[in-house]
């Protein structure tokens, strides 16, 4: 495998909003090395989340090519993308998006339902993931019984439980106070440094971006490197 985990080549994404055509990304080129931790900043509507969606196979570019690992996402069908996502990508959202009807442990176990692991193996892996994020003692708690920071930790555990190579984080600290935000960011840094996870994080928060190895500025559909 090459040292580049993800590559975007001349990627454009154009949306049709009624009669209006909006070009969110314009012939974008980006290489993300294995083990990198990138923060993407930029104003609302600049295409940050679209970029994340393209890397995660949730969206397809209007033109250009997206490759992650050995997979050329632009050549895959929706169901192929679904299966690929389950083992290669971990998503972390701003509002955690845990399923309220499941305990923390069951939420973390969800991606493993798509594997052939036995129930025992799934339980073991979910416990390890919860342990990594420091919430082993909250396994049986429902999301409503957890604080915002704890919910986000569970969401991170869910993102890493199937051992994906790439973590995509969309404003992971946007709903947290400074103290909790810093804890989450330290956790992401730990996953990057200790567990070798490649991380792409979209954020509005300059302090959060400081945790990354490099910062990219997204505006008017193009990317520009900033000092990290």
């Amino acid at each position: 495998m090459s040292d580049i985990l993800a590559r975007l080549e001349n990627v454009s994404r154009i949306y049709q909003k009624g009669k209006e055509t909006v070009e969110v990304l314009h012939e974008l080129n980006l290489e993300i090395p294995n083990g990198d931790f990138i923060a993407i900043m930029g104003p609302s509507g600049s295409g940050k989340t679209t970029l994340l969606n393209l890397l995660g196979g949730l969206d397809k570019p209007t033109s250009g090519k997206v490759t992650v690992g050995d997979a050329e996402l632009t050549a895959m069908s929706n169901s192929q993308l679904s299966r690929w996502r389950s083992s290669h990508i971990g998503f972390i959202f701003q509002f955690y998006n845990l399923l309220p009807v499941l305990t923390a442990h069951r939420n973390v176990e969800l991606p493993l339902l798509l594997t052939n692991f036995s129930a025992k193996e799934r339980a073991k892996r979910a416990s390890i993931a919860l342990d990594i994020v420091g919430l082993a003692d909250r396994a049986k708690h429902y999301p409503r019984e957890l604080s915002g920071g704890q919910e986000q930790r569970v969401a991170i555990a869910r993102a890493i439980v199937s051992d994906p190579s790439l973590l995509l984080c969309d404003e992971p600290t946007g709903d947290l106070d400074r103290e909790n935000a810093d804890e989450i960011l330290k956790l992401l840094q730990l996953l990057n440094h200790e567990h070798g996870k490649t991380i792409v994080m979209v954020t509005h928060d300059a302090q959060a971006a400081e945790y990354a190895n490099r910062i990219l500025h997204c505006d008017k559909g193009t990317l520009e490197a900033m000092a990290a």
Binding site: W84, N97, L114
Partner: protein
């Protein structure tokens, strides 16, 4: 099965709403089980009908009698192996609600005609010897606690006696069972001769004839030949198979099958609206959660399957509970009303049919919300959330 916990938890997301939906499903399938059992009881005669037995009734209607003099002419018709007859007595025991089938018959030819009625030979002989003797089915004996040797009074509702009395007394000489589990033994048979000499009116007539066609004979031709003989007579006949006769007999009470179908149709249509609405609401409330599942790698088909499974599960919980309660009630009704309405039974066919309806209704109620969930755009749904 991996997804069962997720499906189960989703079903109970809004407990009260789910409970109310399950309750409506329960009531629908409770009704289904009761009406099926009643329908089965009415249809029982058709199911146990013998294809080689034909019934001759008055062409005007079943309640119009036929002359006794037809017996020899029917017997002499080509293709007829044997003939017997019966008449509806229509009495009750002690109280008007204690009604069951009573028929004056010719003992020898009738018992020969119905080999499915089984009883000891000595009881048959005792019945033949005693002019006021009667034989009863096991169901009746159990229902009223009657034994061989008992003398029982039956109040006539149609046939008054020549002396003006309405009470007919019979000696129980035998108790028969039926070898066909779907057949009823809630019957009382007694001597036609006693009936004929004691009744105040209608002498020289019978209710209907039952005949067995000779092996190899064409039943349609035999039926036509009999009816042709009595054409243009004061009592024209209508000959049909035993199944058709049983059907026309039950249709005196109305078209039970149609009534049952209409009631159940209305109930299940309402049920589909209720459960369809529940599923639609359930999907609308968790658009973002479904989008998250897809983000994690659940395919469109998996999401479709999960939502459909939730809908089917709700139907199965309510339906099986309703069927269970229905089964218990039918058992109770069969004990209480067995003599009046024999054959009350929740058949295996009805149970299988009910389970098929549960699954089918679950699919129909859940299909539109499930398709909506399947077609959900992850990006749009997450953006809205």
């Amino acid at each position: 099965m991996k997804y069962f916990r997720l499906i189960w938890k989703n079903v109970w997301r809004k407990k009260i709403r789910t409970l109310l939906t399950i309750l409506s499903v329960l009531v629908a399938f409770l009704l289904f089980s009761l009406l099926s059992a009643i329908g089965y009881a009415f249809k029982g005669g058709e199911d146990v009908a013998d294809a080689e037995r034909l019934i001759v009734i008055n062409k005007i209607s079943l309640i119009n009698p036929i002359p006794m003099s037809y017996l020899n002419r029917i017997q002499a018709t080509e293709g007829v192996a044997s003939v017997t007859h019966a008449t509806w007595f229509g009495g009750y025991y002690q109280e008007p609600q204690n009604q069951f089938g009573q028929f004056p018959i010719d003992p020898q030819s009738y018992i020969d005609m119905y080999p499915e009625f089984e009883m000891p030979a000595e009881q048959i002989e005792a019945f033949k010897r005693n002019r006021t003797g009667a034989i009863i089915g096991e169901e009746l004996a159990t229902a009223y606690g009657w034994n061989v040797g008992d003398r029982i009074p039956i109040q006539a509702t149609i046939w008054t006696k020549a002396d003006g009395g309405r009470t007919w007394e019979f000696d129980i000489e035998g108790i028969f069972t039926t070898s066909d589990p779907r057949g009823s033994s809630a019957l009382m048979l007694f001597q036609y001769d006693y009936f004929e000499e004691s009744r105040a009116f209608g002498k020289g007539t019978v209710g209907w004839y039952i005949l067995r066609v000779s092996p190899g004979a064409d039943t349609v031709q035999v039926a036509k030949a009999i009816d042709l003989q009595f054409e243009n007579s004061p009592s024209e006949t209508k000959t049909s198979t035993e199944a058709a006769f049983a059907k026309s007999f039950t249709q005196q009470f109305g078209n039970i099958a149609l009534i049952v179908t209409l009631i159940l149709g209305a109930v299940f249509f309402t049920l589909l609206l209720v459960s369809g609405n529940t599923m639609s609401q359930s999907v609308r409330e968790r658009i973002s959660e479904l989008a998250v599942l897809k983000t994690l790698g659940f395919t469109d088909r998996s999401v479709l399957g999960i939502v459909l499974s939730e809908s089917i599960l709700i139907m199965l919980i309510g339906g099986l509970l309703g069927l269970g309660i229905g089964w218990v009630l039918v058992q109770g009704m069969a004990e209480q009303m067995g003599a009046f309405l024999p054959g009350l039974f929740l058949s295996p066919g009805a149970i299988l049919g009910a389970v098929a309806i549960m699954i089918g209704a679950g699919l129909v109620a859940g299909i539109f919300p499930a398709l909506k969930a399947m077609r959900l755009s992850i990006i749009d749904a997450l953006a809205r959330a």
